[in-house]
Amino acid sequence: MKPDQQKKGGIKGILAEFYFDIILILIVVFIFIIPSFQIRVLSRQFPLALSFVVIGLIVIRVATTLARRLRAGEGAGIRQETARALPGATLVRRASLILLSLSGLLGIIYLLGMVLGGVIFTLLFTRFYGKQTWLASLIPALVTLVLVYGLFGILMNFQLYHGIFQIRLPGLV
């Protein structure tokens, strides 16, 4: 067994390996199948058929994978490949940090607009998450400024989002 594989048994193991398949089935049922009965027959025909195809394919995948494992004598034990060999706690911590960073990016864009928000995000992310020096972090921040303000804003004349405080740098539409 590879070092990045953990062995879990029973129901827990099955849930661990097929968690994404289970989520997919739930999404298809609650977002695509149940609401489709509120729309016109002709309009729901194609997506409804597709929904059943997706569920059918997921069921076949889960069944064939389980059957192969059982045939290979691994019992109900399920091999779970964790994301690229990272320990679970590290993965969760980093994933949470990234989600927080992306939410922060959206928040700062909402407040300060795209130019300032983008530059501040690049600077802080490179400095603190990328663990670069302030000087080294300033370079990507400046590149962001040139691309967003210079290229999108000035050269291509796109109307950028200026945030709720309407901070508009000179020359922007």
């Binding site: 729901r44 997506p47 670069q132 691309l147 291509m156 989002y161």
Partner: protein, 500 residues
């Protein structure tokens, strides 16, 4: 003939020449840097083309693609890390040559094979255009519908081991594209009372989320640093490298033809072409004992075929609106965003654009090969840049690009949402690409589905027996799937026997 000269005139306008140069430089840079590829470059740069004419936009995007593929082979040869998946086979013999101090020889051979491979495939496509217009007229809605199904199955076959996951991703992409107003039979679906969803989910946000934001998440979670590997000396022998392609011209020709044919099959792309060509060279060439240790034929074979793919891939992309390779899926999206839906009339109505993008692709390929051969060693040093310094820039630029598509701030949230979905698909072994292709093909597939049913008054047999072509397509689909499963089963038995 008029369209050809008009296409040439378009390409040689100074603004477009400038776009080709900028495009190939961007493609080259993205092809080199880890986590990036010409696919990501095209996805985040489509918004830049909104203010351009259709011809200029396509010239620019095709130049990015032309610049991207060969760049990845430089890192394969000098560092032993393929810049893009399509360059993985080049590593087998390219890297040993680099280690032997014959990097320039291998890079020159790869560059020449790439440039000539793309030229060959474009020439072949050009020769086929008159015939293709006749063949494409045989495709009415039922045949195109079957071809879409065929494409999704081919994509799954190319996944090597994740067949069902790829099919699920493709079907899921189709399903997600159903959100919003239904142009075929009217009415809004799955909008849940939100005005935002009436127009469906934004295609550009989906591209950027799936390819740029998800890569950012992946790299940030891995905390990938700059590549510390030793850069092999470029050495000498560039002229010999160029000559070697002409010396092995028959191998180059065969592999270019393979690349072209694989390109025509929807969804397969350069990775499959490189793999098939390398195996072909290994099986058919004489004195193969040096393959894997630094045989120049092991560089020529994959490089000629992975560049020849794009010429072939343009046939289903432009002729039927079904992407022939991953990059073509994004290019198809770019056409749609510019108000053109490629289809059977594309080679009649927009032939000038077709010629212009073909010429742009060839020019970008020659420029990138010359550039790469000239300063490969300096370019390879770019790999030492830590990805965490440039990925935030890519994400911010990508988000700005997704916003300017509709000027709707909610698109930013959707883009990040697609990025998270892309990452989850990636780590769960599901294909992001199949999802994207399914998403692009969704509206078209439904349209052809209903048009087909209308043709035969609601009889489902229309998909099977509408024409001899429909029957032939089903037969090809069944035979290829049968062969695929037969080979999988055979391989499984061999593995079981080896275990015992």
């Amino acid at each position: 003939m008029n369209a050809l000269t008009e296409g040439l005139a378009v390409v040689f306008q100074w603004q477009n020449i400038l776009l080709i140069v900028v495009g190939f430089l961007i493609g080259h840079l993205f092809g080199l840097l880890p986590g990036l590829s010409s696919l990501v470059a095209i996805a985040i740069l489509i918004p830049w083309t909104y203010s351009m004419s259709l011809d200029a936009a396509m010239v620019f995007l095709m130049a990015i693609q032309g610049g991207g593929i060969f760049a990845g082979s430089i890192t394969s040869i000098l560092i032993g890390i393929p810049g893009q998946a399509v360059n993985a086979m080049t590593l087998n013999d390219g890297y040993p040559l680099g280690r032997q101090g014959r990097g320039a020889y291998a890079i020159a051979a790869a560059g020449t094979a790439s440039a000539l491979g793309s030229t060959f495939s474009v020439l072949l496509l050009a020769l086929m255009i008159p015939f293709m217009m006749r063949i494409l007229k045989l495709f009415s809605p039922p045949e195109v519908f079957v071809f879409v199904v065929f494409g999704l199955f081919c994509l799954a076959m190319a996944s090597r081991g994740a067949y069902l996951k790829d099919l699920i991703s493709g079907a899921l992409g189709l399903l997600v594209s159903m959100i919003g107003f239904n142009n075929v039979v009217g009415g809004t679906r799955y909008a849940f009372g939100m005005d935002y969803l009436w127009n469906g989910l934004p295609m550009i946000g989906m591209f950027i989320g799936m390819f740029a934001v998800s890569e950012f998440i992946s790299i940030a979670i891995q905390r990938s640093g700059g590549i510390k590997a030793e850069i092999a000396s470029r050495g000498f022998g560039a002229v010999e490298g160029i000559k070697s392609v002409f010396k092995h011209w028959f191998l180059w020709l065969r592999c270019s033809i393979f690349g072209f044919i694989i390109g025509v099959i929807p969804g397969l792309g350069g990775v499959a072409a490189s793999l098939v060509s390398y195996s072909h060279a290994l099986q058919t060439e004489k004195n193969t004992q040096n393959f894997g240790k630094g045989d120049i034929r092991g560089v020529i074979a994959p490089e000629s075929s992975n560049n020849a793919v794009d010429g072939g891939a343009l046939i289903p992309t432009l002729g039927l609106g079904i992407p022939g390779s991953p990059v073509m899926a994004i290019l198809l999206g770019a056409f749609i965003l510019h108000g053109i839906r490629p289809g059977t009339n594309m080679f009649q109505d927009n032939l000038t654009t077709v010629w212009a993008l073909l010429f742009a692709y060839i020019i970008a390929n020659y420029l990138t090969s010359a550039f790469g051969i000239g300063i490969a060693e300096q370019l390879a040093k770019l790999l030492r840049l830590p990805p965490l310094t440039y990925m935030p820039v890519i994400v911010v630029v990508g988000l700005v690009g997704s916003y300017v598509a509709n000027y709707d701030p909610i698109d930013l949230v959707t883009t990040v949402g697609f990025g998270i979905l892309g990452y989850v698909l990636m780590v769960s072994g599901f294909s992001r690409l199949s999802f994207v292709i399914g998403f692009i093909l969704g509206p078209l597939t439904e349209q052809y589905y209903f048009q087909s049913l209308q043709m035969w008054y609601g009889d489902y047999k229309v998909f099977l027996f509408h024409s001899p072509l429909a029957i032939v397509l089903w037969v090809i689909l069944i035979v290829t799937q049968g062969l695929y499963w037969w080979s999988v089963r055979k391989r499984y038995r061999v593995i079981q026997q080896m275990k015992e």
